[in-house]
Symmetry: D2
Subunit: 136 residues, 4 copies
């Protein structure tokens, strides 16, 4: 069970570093933007999830950096989410130059479902159903 | 009435951009670090101020960028704070290379005193007294 | 003589801070994104300008922070550029919630024209002509 | 063969997000600061390495996020580096609250040795010798 979302964006000038390509930490910010669009696609945006008391802090991240991407390059990011057990979600991300196939960066983040106090909770029923609905 | 604080720090790699010097927005992050040490020096850290329900969002910022600063350069930042009226604080900041006098960046931020709900408030008495005490 | 560009974007999660709104330095990153689209509109993207040996470091920035903007809020940024003398360009920026008029942030950046070695130069003729052409 | 470096630093306000703790991408910026001090300890700073034509782009990163860390918390980061084969270096990083043992974040980055044109090269002899010297 997984849901996929695709977004395009350009490398910001502030995201470059003196190597002339994007700074390695920018990839995690981009992954976060990918998740934002991924959750919107399930019918409940992540902003609404937090309003409902469901937070998804990152508990693990992995990135494999591939080809270079420079300022103003147009990139395409594909985010695929799936539940892992009852209390985790894993988002796999792949970033390429728009129209190309060689990965600029690919990796994943794993998230726990927690309440506003930071206590682990199970994935809410409405979220599981929303994921199901998108798949059908 | 003003209180002065001096800190040294190094330019991070992630703060550079493809021009080979620090990204212009980094200066505002540095100013924020300068304020953190400035407030600590008054006896009440900014973290404690927020715990007490006093927040200081930036309402205005100005920066004049001077000489270049590169990755790993050791910089020295001087922050001077003073109350402006009863509900504002202004922090003047000057960043130079350690041991040098030519400014890398100089400017100021102006802050409103607000409560956790974002409502403007007056500078608390304990804060005004703390500023006074440091000056004596 | 000025050229105007409008873009929409959403506040990133990483751009928020513990006040629950966008971090003050993010505004300078956004201004930079606004300039990118502004220059693209003149017919020569800023990436191409740098390839041609024309760099535009920020030498001054001013921001007045207005209403709050939260994670995932859709913002609209208008960037207006104009030459100041023969060796400076000034970009005025205004950010509002899409469809609203109250400014979230407004301000300007001033840029020097420099060559790759950092030496001040005059605005190139092709750039001035491109600005003119967009205005006609 | 490994070299260890320890640094202390405070969480910046701009590094927090609306969850009230540090933004997940900040960990990669911190790892980068840890490497800076790690390389300085080998006798050749990373800035000098780049001046000598040896660059170390990140090709892989992994982070496991542990306990929360808030604005102004004093953290301690331990970076351990070791050569992996002849053309890679791996840096293992562990971040805890100063004086505590529970990890705030731990993980690693793997780096390729490349020349300024981005071509993979072998770890230079002077670097290998510097690593050896620190160990003795």
């Amino acid at each position: 069970m997984s849901v996929e979302s695709v977004v395009q964006f350009r490398v910001r000038y502030s995201e470059t570093d003196q190597m002339g390509t994007y700074s390695n930490s920018s990839a995690l910010d981009w992954f976060e933007c990918g998740r934002t669009e991924f959750f919107r696609q399930t019918g409940t945006s992540y902003a609404e999830m937090e309003d409902r008391g469901v937070l998804l802090p990152v508990i693990e991240s992995y990135i494999k950096y591939g080809g270079r991407a420079k300022y103003d390059d147009l990139l395409e990011m594909t985010t695929t989410g799936r539940l892992v057990g009852k209390a985790r979600i894993r988002c796999d991300v792949r970033i390429v130059h728009a129209g190309a196939s060689k990965p600029v960066a690919e990796g994943y983040t794993i998230h726990a479902f927690v309440n506003p106090a930071g206590k682990p909770i199970r994935a809410p029923k409405w979220f599981i159903e929303a994921m199901d609905a998108v798949l059908r």
